[in-house]
């Protein structure tokens, strides 16, 4: 039974070319389907503009899908701003990259962690105080930091405070958008370990969005690679990162610098990722793909089952 499921979700924006140009539809997310089971983590990787953050916002119900549907705990995602949606949001929380931007600089850490409890009317004053203390302990913040303001904390401590706040309403799903990208390696490891420990202790499901393949591999039970709004490969992270099947995943994995000998020969792609407003015909990756054939220009490849149970959207990968 899945907790969150996206079925054929697209998100289309209209942008103008220049000040007086005609509005052009931009498909930021295009026919994305996946589901997340309770207590599991789905990692979404991809480069800037691939639609991974938009997918996260649609999953949270902050944005409505232009096509397709989002189901959470068996019910269709309500309209944003409605009382049903607000109730549901207690079960669905967001953590993003910049903890300072996510916090109110004038409020103490304790006041901010208590805020969701007040908004959702959870407990009385005394219970809330106890709850805040317990949450801060769970994320490894010393009790004396509760009365500090965000600017008095280090980056790692702030991200812990943001997490404590996200966990306050006891959510079933956490959407984490680049949660450790702004942190130094040694602090990043602390926060990653804490996230996986909390997941184990509380059975939270996670949608973990990041450009950092190493971090995604570390935390995910399943991974989806996105390119220009579509999922191009999805499956077991160890299998995908050890032996990517889609030519884009191959290039992406091979581009990651690693200390020590590399397993996959580096593929350097030519050119930049195309503008989503100017999506190439057929497979969006074909202009940069070293293996492209004529079918790639004409036809959009569907995501289909390939070897070892993973799914790949490429004309050149044999179906299982």
């Amino acid at each position: 039974m899945s907790l969150l499921s996206l079925e054929g979700v697209s998100r289309v924006y209209a942008t103008r070319r220049g000040l007086f140009g005609k509005p052009v539809p931009v498909r930021a997310v295009d026919h994305v389907s996946f589901s997340v089971a309770p207590g599991r983590t789905l990692g979404i990787v991809g480069e800037s503009g691939c639609g991974k953050s938009t997918t996260g916002r649609v999953a949270l119900g902050i944005e409505r899908p232009s096509e397709g549907s989002v189901t959470f705990e068996g019910a269709t995602m309500p309209m944003p701003g409605t009382p049903e949606w607000r109730r549901m949001r207690a079960r669905l929380q967001l953590v993003h990259q910049d903890p300072l931007g996510a916090m109110d600089r004038r409020l103490t850490v304790a006041a901010q962690v208590a805020e969701p409890l007040e908004i959702h009317g959870i407990g009385d004053k005394a219970e809330r105080t106890d709850r805040v203390a317990a949450l801060l302990r769970d994320v490894g913040l010393r009790a004396d930091l509760a009365e500090r303001h965000p600017h008095e904390l280090s980056g790692g401590q702030r991200q812990r405070a943001v997490l404590a706040r996200a966990l306050a309403t006891d959510p079933a799903l956490l959407v984490a958008d680049e949660p450790v990208s702004a942190l130094d390696v040694s602090i990043q490891a602390q926060v990653i370990n804490m996230l996986t420990d909390l997941q184990e202790a509380r059975g939270i499901a996670m949608l973990f969005i990041s450009h950092d393949l190493k971090v995604v591999r570390q935390v995910s039970h399943e991974v989806a690679v996105m390119y220009l709004g579509r999922i191009v490969e999805q499956g077991d992270p160890e299998a995908i990162f050890a032996d990517p099947l889609h030519p884009y995943s191959r290039a992406l994995v091979s581009a990651i610098p690693v200390p020590g000998p590399r397993r996959i020969e580096r593929i350097v792609l030519s050119g930049d990722p195309p503008n989503p407003a100017d999506r190439p015909s057929g497979c969006a990756f074909h202009p940069r793909c070293p293996l492209a054939v004529s079918a790639c220009r004409a036809e959009v490849p569907e995501l289909k089952a390939a070897a070892d149970g993973r799914q790949v959207a490429c004309h050149l990968v044999e179906a299982a």
């Binding site: 040694s186 490891a189 570390q218 990162f241 992406l252 200390p259 020590g260």
Partner: protein, 322 residues
């Protein structure tokens, strides 16, 4: 060893009396690629900003930075103007903010050519085209006439590199040159830097927080912590056999791309604040091997292998002289 191109001795920097660099010794040989790694605030960027006289007036700088015998610290502006962009060029993390947004990219590169090589008019334009070609900007004839905002981040970084090459530098200091770029674009830029280094024979100092980037690009690596170099080594030896507890901790904290997944070994605590520097070894409060002796004094370098040294009193010195 050949005579170093740049020789830094006991470089110290303080901002408002707070130490940021606490004695850096570093040589860069002609044509070599050296990596400086470390986390935010360890002083890896400050080292080169200080060396080139690019720090604000609030910084107090001491020690010595010599470029083939010529002292650069507190040198006259006329001396530094010849060196900066001429003999030593620098590129930064964010190319979009380093470029002038209201000038065409070709004009900006031509300006560097005029300043450092006295090229004007048609000669300058021909050289700009050659440089654009060299850094892999396609359709150079048209691209020299566009503005930075019309190019992608990767293309802007190529323009920055073209501008850096304009002065035919003997040393290129690249400060997190690919940190703001996507993985596939990062691979392109690293490839380009490697090729240019081979073609021109210039030395490269690569400043990065990413151990993987440094491992791939540099033959020699210095690991910095809290304003000091704590380990210096040929890069294979550093990643295969790190000796300083901080380097070991950094590598253990990094998730792997291959092999079985394991729990990350996080380094406890955080980097000490400049106003709260522990006595002796700055890493001791986070180190699982720390003993009371670690606080007694600044640990000196211990030779641990060929051209490999670590600043820790608990490492075993190599038996063969390094």
């Amino acid at each position: 060893m050949t005579e170093p191109l740049v020789s830094i001795r006991d470089l110290r920097v303080a901002f408002h009396g707070m130490p940021a660099l606490r004695g850096i010794d570093l040589d860069v040989a002609p044509g070599e690629a050296v990596g400086l790694v470390g986390e935010s605030g360890c002083g890896k960027s400050v080292t080169w900003l200080a060396a080139l006289g690019l720090l604000p007036g609030t910084a107090t700088v001491g020690g010595s930075v010599k470029l083939q015998g010529q002292e650069l610290l507190h040198a006259a502006p006329t001396v530094l103007d010849r060196v900066r962009g001429g003999r030593i060029a620098m590129i930064f993390q964010d190319p979009a903010s380093a470029l002038n947004p209201v000038k065409k990219v070709g004009v900006q590169v031509a300006e560097a050519l005029r300043l450092h090589r006295g090229l004007e008019g048609a000669a300058a334009e021909a050289e700009v085209l050659r440089l654009f070609d060299q850094v892999g900007i396609p359709d150079a004839k048209r691209r020299i006439h566009i503005y930075p905002h019309e190019m992608s981040g990767g293309q802007n970084q190529r323009v920055m590199i073209a501008m850096a090459l304009a002065g035919q530098p003997e040393l290129l200091v690249a400060d997190e040159p690919t940190t703001a770029l996507d993985a596939t674009i990062q691979a392109q830029i690293l490839d380009l830097l490697r090729r240019l280094q081979q073609e021109t024979g210039m030395a490269l100092v690569l400043i990065s927080h990413d151990l993987g980037v440094v491992a791939e690009m540099c033959r020699r690596v210095c690991v910095m912590y809290a304003g000091r170099i704590v380990e210096e080594s040929p890069s294979e030896a550093l990643f295969a056999h790190p000796r300083h507890p901080y380097t070991q901790g950094l590598l253990a904290a990094l998730p792997d791309m291959v092999g079985p997944r394991r729990r990350l070994e996080a380094i406890p605590g955080g980097v000490p604040e400049p106003w709260n520097m522990p006595p002796g070894c700055a890493f001791a409060p986070r180190c699982d091997r720390a003993t009371p002796e670690c606080g007694a004094g600044m640990p000196g370098f211990v030779p641990v292998g060929p051209a490999h040294q670590a600043a820790c009193i608990h490492v075993q010195p190599a038996t063969v002289p390094a």
